[in-house]
């Protein structure tokens, strides 16, 4: 197939050359083959405001004003802006737009485009994929290269949210009748790869143009995206060295991928906490009695052999998490070590300790079935759920069920379809579920999505669905970004973790790792453990990928 593909490429080249009657042989362009997502078929949609767009639209076509480098504590790397300044009261922020940036049709990129884009989101809230309307009340042009954003509330994190909005050219989009149905097939952008050179349902190629403002730092001519429908097809191509840059799941990566070719390399970067979530509103009286008992949750946690789970279910790709607050070693800088150490013993594998704690709390085997019953004498079997097909999660749950049996807690594994899993969590009809959480540059995203009770409704994702409510945690989370003072934020973080840890709300197991696979055969300059410049994932939503592509150089 590979040989066949080469042939067709040569044919295409010959055709192209004869069509333009160019006598010289075209200089081969350097193309990076990437896998930013799996698609059943490629649909030519470069509208940056639609969730269904192609994943090379943001960053690569519409360059952000700045990239906040999460791995470096969210320090901004300025791109289409040269800086920003927050007002003292944190109620507004002013961005300085870089002069000399051009759209790919040659027009100047100015404050007007920025203001136009934010107004567009106000008039068409359906386009507001990043939630900017909740942060910004209005964008105002100060001069050609200065924009002032007024904010809905004091928010030191606002610049981070503002640069997530893709800025589109006013001179094009103001003529678009229905932006929410606009496919933007021939995009005019500011990013490094704005020319769509090839587009078929199975492959497309995006190349750089002379208008790109930072051309001298860019050594890649094109990015190339083959259509890949699922992980199996991806694996076949990755093993075959057909992919340069990917961040998909490869089981047992050393054996399956790295050993197949000396150019196959990978680097794992910290991802979010993963934990067992228990339901505090269980309709079953016996289960409710057990799960709302803090000593039971601690015994549950002590029964879990975290390292074994990481080694078996995740092929070693993970870091144990023994923080009752869920923080994990990736956020050690935010940890109050007194709190961490105080509850560490409850989150460390200890069969005897778990048994002793259960006995102390009154969980005894009343009916001689070999498993403990609640203090009021009711027997129960916990069902632990993970979504069908998420094989690492399914294995984790299976191991946990066996480990819980060791300490006398009866449990069984369930693997419902994701929709059923999710609904059971929203409706509080499940017992225990295994889930992952978002990561971020500070623990706010994790705690807010995972513990803020405002997210315990049917419109929200699964993360806060333990249905445990604590007003103090809610208000502390609300005040986190009301200050720009790191010491103040640290104080808030300490209070939050003390409350969560004391209650052992969830049972943290590990901090996951994101996969990143790169091929040194065609390009060098990849970020890795020796050169940890940032998160290198190729997914949309990881703007650092723009910085990574600027660091690439064709291999000699």
């Amino acid at each position: 197939m590979f040989a066949n593909f080469k042939k067709t490429k040569i044919t295409a080249l010959v055709l192209a050359a004869s069509a333009t009657l160019a006598p010289q042989v075209a200089v081969a362009k350097s193309e990076v083959t990437i896998v930013p997502d799996f698609y059943p078929t490629l649909i030519r949609n470069f509208n940056p405001f639609l969730a269904t767009n192609l994943r090379t639209t943001t960053d690569f076509i519409y360059e952000p004003m700045a990239v906040f480098n999460e791995m470096k504590g969210n320090t901004p790397v300025f791109r289409l802006a040269t800086g920003f300044e927050m007002s003292k009261d944190l109620m507004s922020v002013t961005f300085d737009i870089r002069e000399g940036v051009k759209w790919s049709d040659g027009e100047k990129y100015t404050a007007d485009d920025v203001v136009y884009t934010f107004n567009l989101l106000k008039t068409k809230p359906g386009l507001d994929q990043t939630g900017a309307n909740k942060v910004v009340t209005a964008a105002k042009k100060i001069n050609e290269y200065k924009v002032e954003f007024t904010l809905t509330e004091a928010n030191s994190n606002a610049p981070y949210d503002i640069v997530k909005v893709p800025v589109v050219p006013q001179h094009i989009w103001s003529k678009v009748d229905k932006p929410e149905e606009f496919m933007n097939e021939n995009p005019v952008g500011t990013g490094p790869f704005t020319a769509i050179e090839t587009f078929t349902p199975t492959l497309y190629v995006q190349c750089t143009e002379a208008t790109y403002w930072d051309a001298e730092n860019l050594n890649v001519d094109c990015i190339r995206m083959p259509q890949i429908a699922n992980n199996d097809q991806f694996l076949a191509k990755a093993i075959n060295s057909e992919i340069d840059w990917s961040s998909s799941f490869i089981p047992d990566i050393d054996k399956t991928y790295a050993s197949k070719n000396p150019n196959h390399k990978y680097w794992m970067t910290p991802a979010g906490t993963q934990a067992f979530v228990v339901n505090f509103n269980n309709p079953d009286a016996a289960k409710n009695e057990a799960l709302t008992n803090v000593d039971f949750r601690r015994a549950f946690s002590m029964a879990i052999d975290r390292q074994t789970i990481i080694d078996i279910a995740f092929y070693g790709a993970g870091v144990t998490n023994d923080f009752a607050s869920g923080l994990g070693y990736a956020f050690e800088a935010w940890s109050d070590e007194a709190v961490h150490n105080k509850y560490k013993k409850f989150n460390t594998y200890n069969i005897d300790g778990a048994k002793a704690l259960l006995a102390k709390a009154g969980f005894k085997d009343v009916n001689d079935d070999g498993f403990v019953d609640t203090p009021s004498g009711k027997s129960f079997v916990l069902e632990i759920q993970s979504p069908n097909g998420w094989s690492d999660f399914n294995n984790t749950v299976q191991l946990a069920v066996e480990q819980l049996e060791e300490v006398g807690i009866q449990a069984k594994a369930r693997t419902p379809d994701f929709a059923v899993y999710n609904k059971a969590m929203q409706d509080a009809t499940y017992d225990v579920a295994y889930t992952n959480y978002f990561h971020g540059s500070d623990p706010y995203t994790y705690w807010d999505s995972g513990y803020n009770s405002k997210f315990q409704n049917s419109a929200s994702p699964r993360f806060a669905m333990h249905h445990w409510k604590n007003e103090e945690v809610d208000s502390l989370l609300g005040s986190f970004y009301k200050t720009a003072d790191k010491a103040e934020q640290m104080k808030i973080a300490n209070q939050i973790q003390a409350i969560i840890a004391e209650n052992q709300v969830t049972i943290p197991v590990m901090s996951g790792l994101y996969g990143f696979q790169y091929n040194t055969g065609r390009f060098t300059g990849w970020w890795n453990e020796k050169n940890p410049e940032g998160r290198p994932m190729i997914w949309a939503g990881i703007p650092e990928r723009l910085l990574q592509v600027l660091d690439l150089k064709p291999a000699k």
Partner: protein, 327 residues
Amino acid sequence: MGFFLRRLSFYFIALLFAATLNFIIPRAMPGDPVTMMFANATVQVTPERIAAMKELLGFVDGPLIVQFGMYIKSVLTWDLGVSVQFYPLSVNTVLGNAVGWSLFLAGSAVLLSFTLGSVLGIFAAWTRGSKFDAIISPGMLVFQAVPQVVTAMLLMFVFAVGLQWFPTGYAYSPGLTPDWTSWEFLKNVAYHAVLPLIGASIVQIGGFLIAMRNNMINLLGEDYITMAKGKGLSENRVVFNYAARNAMLPSVTALSMSLGMAIGGQMIIEIIFNYPGLGTVLLNAINARDYQVLQGQLLVMTLFMLFFNLLADMLYVLLDPRLRKGA
């Protein structure tokens, strides 16, 4: 004429019934399109983002009765709505992109297996008990009994992954621009279709073969065959003009049913060989809870099924004079 009208009204009621089911079944599944879109999200999905998406799609959360009204209207006006998964593409476009590939793959598979199966069946019946019959008839039934996923995977691993004679996927080489006037492109399409076509045909041959063989055997005992033989007609004439022609009748129904099914695509084959047909579209629509695409595609499948059934009814009347009188 009365027969025709009665059949037609029956099909109309069947259509209404099927259309209602098409609406209910996708919605009886847990989950909704927006939740599924962000199920496996690797970056943060804020409630605002979900709200924005729902606002954009509008129709998803409306009360069921309103959704049903819109659905019936869309059925009657043949405007099947907008896909969620491929927003803002219309369902018509999504299905239109895939229908050609499906008709090509499933249609040629049905025709191929019908022709092969019928011819083999005729000979198997004529030479009943011979070595040919003893091998080919049970042999084809074995292929039919083995799940399609097994034969398709075997084909793929032996001829595509192992021997590398054929590609592992796609309808044509990635990066090639479809050009239906170019001989090179057509060759490329044919080359990519070989394995899927074999995989889709081989499991269907047995059914046609056995049906044909059994009918033939029944007919061969009839007096008029003995009479034909007695008249001294050639073997070919007896087999094809006297026996096969009549034995064909039940197979016509089977054929039109298969053609009706063909529009649903060869789901398993398409998924294994990453073939861009309707089967792949259907599976993706189910996974994404893309109601509009699902109900649109189910409706098209229903219409095709009913159309080919009707066609079979009509053909029967043409082929079998007894029915004309009976009506």
